[in-house]
Symmetry: C2
Subunit: 313 residues, 2 copies
């Protein structure tokens, strides 16, 4: 089961964090990009090759201290077909290194279309009796605006292939309040979505009483996270917004249950491009800078968990 | 401007419909698929080549009677990289035939990530000073769950590159009521989203007093469409759900304004695989069956518009 593997990874590595692999070509060191521009011109091919090399170095430097990575597919899609090849190769490489993949794809559509997305990212696609994998994620993020008949299409593959999903409940962006905080009979929309997700979670519990069906809850909204934590005990939270978006360890603490489990915190920019913020590491050691930043984040969260009596290790 | 081009296409071809290019390999005639299975085995390559041939034949047979096509990207994504190549080639081929492309991608994320999706599908992606196109759509569908700071990222490219977007307001699926019909201070969520989209629409009006920022409003909810039509006069509606999903011409009529404009109705399965429903056409003439089905749909809607005094031609 996905959730068992995730929790075992967190406990083994003492690390409730994932690194968001969101490539921004303009922030990748010239030492990586320039040789591909020389070889392939200023092209998607060059960008994609540079992204893959960069991602592999980051993975090499952090795979032993984190349970998973969260590639954001938009940052690959923008480089077209070549970019999506780099997405796929990144996922495969990270898997080989023992990391779980959270494909941050935020898909969601009517039933039969959601099934196609599920085939693409969680399950397999049938071609004349052959069942083939299109993309290589262990779990994905899903948008709830279309309701249950969208979500249910993913659940079959979650069971069949031991995958997971994190449904958007309260997102980390400034205007997330616009719809998500509207009040219906005394309940906010994000709470209603939280209860809906929680219903799915409870039907699919793993060994540690957590579910492979979880929620996205932004680090930038600690009070909302507290509400949701109380509402949906069995749902694991994927928590974006730590670091560059402004969320702190004190902010994310509410996303954890008393057992110290229940949340996995993501940081992307703050870890990937750490070499830029420090005089300490020369450009060619960008991977070391990322490793240091990941360790710092892990320790920051672990120390805060300990402070609040939520030690899980 | 996208919306001007769309309206001119509708008027010129007397056809307020788009054909949804949602390839289902199991429904594509064996006369198309088998040769690719022989050549490339039971593989994504074979499926993608078959899909592209099928799409091109459909486009050849309908391009003179419709203003645009709506490829649903999920049905390409499920065939991985090869599938997405077929998506891109389909879009390029349809463009060459003078059709507008509605990329049914239902993306939406936090600001910087939505910008990446916009680069990918509406605008261009910068690689070291070069601005390159990743995917070839004239407009896309967008999910509103993250609010305005998601939507605004697409607007810049809509202006700059003469593109459009249709924001999900009331979707055609059975469980769309679950979130979209919840009531906040006497207003349903889909109405609140409708007003939000309408605000964007009004800021970006074209020649015919319609906007390149429109809404997705399912054919399966005619009463809701009537509400929304009154609320958001300037927003063009993309109306899925006609045909296979159960929507009729009488159902979609409420999505049109009194000027006979304001909506573009999609049908996918009912047109693409029309050859299966008729004894009339042999398999090799599947394109002719699709043409007949598209004409029938166009006439059905035009006749109904005339009946309700909403003639636009």
């Amino acid at each position: 089961m996905f959730i068992n593997k995730l929790i075992e990874g967190i406990k083994e590595k003492k690390s409730p964090i994932v690194v968001g692999l969101d490539p921004r070509i303009e922030l990748i060191p010239g030492i990586v990009t320039n040789k591909y521009y020389e070889r392939y011109g200023k092209s998607f091919r060059a960008a994609a090759e540079a992204i893959l090399e960069f991602n592999m170095e980051i993975i090499d430097k952090v795979y032993d201290i984190i349970p998973g990575v969260k590639p954001q597919i938009a940052f690959y899609e923008k480089y077209g077909i070549e970019g999506l090849k780099a997405y796929n190769e990144t996922c495969k490489y990270a898997s080989k290194k023992g990391l779980l993949i959270v494909g941050d794809i935020k898909r969601g559509d009517i039933g039969s279309t959601s099934k196609a997305y599920s085939d693409a990212h969680l399950g397999r696609t049938e071609v004349e009796g052959e069942y083939l994998r299109a993309f290589y994620s262990d779990s994905i993020t899903v948008n709830p605006y279309l309701g249950d008949d969208c979500l249910k299409e993913f659940v079959e593959d979650i069971e069949k292939y031991e995958r997971g999903m994190f449904v958007l409940v309260k997102t980390s962006n400034p205007s997330s309040s616009q719809l998500q905080d509207l009040v219906v009979n005394g309940k906010k929309i994000y709470e209603i979505v939280g209860e809906m997700v929680s219903g799915w979670s409870r039907k699919h519990l793993g060994e540690y009483n957590y579910s492979s069906i979880g929620a996205v809850v932004g680090a930038t909204y600690p009070e909302e996270a507290k509400n949701l934590r109380a509402l949906m005990k069995e749902s694991y939270f994927l928590v974006p917004g730590y670091g560059a978006q402004g969320g702190t360890a004190e902010d994310v603490i509410h996303s954890f249950n008393e057992d110290g489990l229940g949340a996995i915190v993501n940081s992307s920019r703050g870890i990937l491009y750490a070499y830029k913020n420090q005089g300490k590491f020369p450009e060619e050691n960008y991977g070391d800078a990322s490793r240091e930043a990941a360790i710092k984040m892990r320790d920051d969260i672990n120390n805060t968990l300990e402070k609040y009596g939520k030690k899980y290790w």
